[in-house]
């Protein structure tokens, strides 16, 4: 599969943006500048980027509580994202959603969701709309291994399979649902095995390999656009941070992931290191270019943080707006 050089570099830059975005946020959370909970996406960048680069701008996605990566990969504006996470009125959701709920309807991001598994029926409905309108769009639903145990997983995939809807169910299996190992609570080793129950294709792919993800999702998108129905794609991946940044404050020393495991994923299977190595080896990217890209990413993020800091807090009475379109 030949991918243009520019696209490869763009993919690399986007992955790096996600990594630095989350790194920056971690500092800001510990610095006390960010209200609420932040679920960092670091470590899973290849999944979001591999997937979203196989989609068009007007294709739909639904995202999760760990959604920053999906949004950045789909092309969301860093300033408005950061402002939302800061609770500012210039944020995507005017400060009414925060980290877990960022939406950009202009580029098909139907919102991240704080309820595990809730995005599945919503993406299914977006796929139904695309089918009814004959628009050729597809809907991609990001969800985790945890959500694959929810009832909505079954209901949604069954519905989409029965109706042959253009939906890609994209499972990010990062091996833990909050603080519980998936191996203890998921009945199958590969979530993609569950596809057989719905008579649709189920594929497991290395979620640390952005090109492998891209290729598999492209296939699923092709199938969806052709009207053949949904696919279940499982990406095996890993989150570097805890379930939530700063979780040590409430779970204390009670560890649930071996330190060696975290270290192994970071040192052996880091999606950005692997992709960069590949690009450099293929002569697509030089070390110098890579440094330049990184400097640009960091500069963009600094701008985004400055924008968020300088933006005004919403006026308290704005809390009363946006409940209804009209009343």
């Amino acid at each position: 599969m030949a991918i243009e050089k520019e696209k490869l570099i763009e993919m690399y830059a986007r992955m790096l943006t996600i990594r630095h975005f989350e790194g920056k946020l971690k500092e800001l959370v510990f610095g006390g500048e960010v209200p609420g909970f932040v679920h960092a996406y670091a470590g899973e960048e290849a999944v979001a980027v591999g997937t979203c680069f196989a989609l068009l701008d007007d294709d739909y996605i639904t995202s999760t509580h760990r959604g920053h990566g999906h949004l950045i990969a789909k092309g969301a504006d860093l300033k408005r994202m950061m402002a939302e996470i800061f609770g500012k009125s210039t944020g995507y959701n005017k400060g009414k959603g925060g980290s877990m709920h960022i939406a950009d309807f202009g580029i098909g991001i139907l919102g991240a969701n704080g309820i595990v598994g809730a995005g599945l029926p919503i993406a299914t409905g977006a796929g139904l709309a695309a089918k009814l309108r004959g628009s050729g769009q597809v809907a991609t639903c990001f969800f985790g291994d945890g959500a694959s145990n929810q009832g909505t997983f079954h209901e949604s995939i069954n519905l989409a399979a029965a109706w042959k809807l253009p939906v890609i169910y994209l499972c990010e299996n990062n091996m833990y649902g909050e603080f519980t190992p998936a191996a203890e609570v998921v009945s199958v080793e590969d979530v993609s095995d569950r596809a057989a129950g719905y008579n649709i294709p189920g594929v497991t792919v290395d979620g640390q390999d952005v090109l492998a993800v891209y290729e598999v999702v492209q296939e699923a998108v092709k199938r969806a656009r052709a009207g053949t129905g949904p696919s279940l794609v499982e990406c095996k991946t890993y989150r570097y941070e805890g379930h939530v940044i700063g979780e040590e404050a409430f779970i204390g020393e009670r560890g649930y992931r071996p330190a060696e495991e975290i270290e192994e994923w970071k040192s052996q299977r880091d999606p950005i290191t692997l992709f960069k190595g590949k690009l450099v080896k293929q002569g697509v990217l030089t070390e110098e270019q890579a440094s330049q890209i990184e400097a640009e990413v960091i500069a963009q993020l600094d701008e985004a943080v400055a924008y968020a800091r300088e933006s005004p807090m919403p006026a308290p009475e704005e809390a009363l707006e946006d409940v209804y379109a009209s009343l």
Binding site: L110, A118, P121, A123, L159, D322, V323, L327
Partner: protein, 324 residues
């Protein structure tokens, strides 16, 4: 004027709105057949793409309506029985009700959730509930409880055209009720109460099936020389508070009648609104009274069921009490 029954009025509203707007479609369990007579025959005109039989999948289709609405459609999703809404509570309450707000106004959710509600005769508690009061505590949802064929048609058309999620409660006992419905097109705005009977002594506020119980009670009470005004808000959200206040200021007495359970019911909210409005409160000549279902799940056996649901006798007793 011609007369048609309640379910036929619903069928007409669906048909007219689907003809008017190609983004409107209907999905739910057995909608092709139309088990209760409301959707029968629509598939012949609109086909199986727009009249979609779903699996038995309440969370699935409730959420699919949310997604379809956010992606530019105007879905109507039907709960065969209102108690089945509990199966889909996350999608109704966390998603449909909240997503416009949580997205800072980006999401548009023009969804009509239709639900057959209330007592229809020995169906027991999982098929007999009037659940509207639970949703009063869920900002983001609108609620309609029509009592007549005329109201159900005009309000359903408004619900379908509305850009917010609407819970549209159709009463199981009213399906065969006949009433005047004009041939020509009309809609009824939300938030406008209807005075179903004018009176001067006591204001009775009732919704849905209870409007008819209240009217029957008023007829009896008239023989005793008590003049009852029956106000039907028709929509619980938005609620026409002014119409209620105006009536209570005139009569000085309020009895609410609600098919839902008494505690935390719609009557409780209406009563409190009256109590908080200084001018209306100042005009009261008697304490407020609520008539509602007793605080138990709806039982199966006919005498038990009849005992739990408000009837004319209980309404009359409450009216007499405030007249003393």
């Amino acid at each position: 004027m011609r007369e048609i029954v309640y379910v036929q009025a619903i069928n007409e509203a669906l048909r007219e709105e689907m003809r008017r707007d190609p983004t409107v479609f209907l999905m739910g369990e057995d909608v092709r057949i139309g088990a209760f007579g409301t959707t029968g025959g629509l598939v012949d005109e609109f086909g199986t793409e727009r009249i979609r039989n779903t699996p038995i999948t309440e969370s699935g289709f409730t959420g699919a309506a949310v997604g379809a609405a956010m992606a530019g459609m105007r879905p109507i999703a039907e709960f065969l029985i209102a108690s089945f809404m509990w199966v889909a509570m996350d999608q109704l309450v966390n998603q449909a009700a909240k997503l416009r707000y949580m997205s800072g106004g980006q999401a548009k959710l023009p969804i009509t959730y239709r639900a057959l509600y209330g007592v229809m005769g020995s169906a027991a508690a999982q098929h007999s509930q009037a659940p509207h009061a639970m949703f009063l505590n869920c900002p983001g949802l609108k609620m309609v409880l029509p009592a007549t064929p005329y109201d159900v048609k005009g309000l359903l058309k408004t619900a379908i055209r509305d850009d917010d999620p609407v819970l549209f409660f159709e009463h199981g006992a009213l399906g065969g009720l006949k009433g005047e419905v004009p041939e020509e097109e009309y809609t009824i705005p939300f938030g406008v109460a209807d005075v179903k009977r004018e009176g001067t002594d006591v204001t009775v506020v009732a919704l849905g099936w209870m409007v008819h119980k209240a009217l029957a009670a008023a007829e009896e009470l008239a023989k005793e020389g008590i003049s009852v005004e029956v106000i039907d808000p028709r929509t619980l959200v938005p609620l026409d508070k002014e119409a209620i206040f105006a009536s209570v200021r005139k009569t000085g007495r309020l009895v609410t009648v609600d098919e839902g359970n008494k505690t935390g019911g719609a009557g409780s909210e209406i009563g409190m609104l009256v109590a908080e409005d200084d001018e209306t409160f100042g005009s009261l000549k008697a304490p407020l009274r609520r008539v509602a279902a007793h605080d138990v799940p709806i039982p199966f056996s006919p005498p038990l069921e009849q005992f739990v649901i408000p009837d004319e006798g209980r309404i009359m007793a409450a009216v007499r009490a405030v007249m003393e």
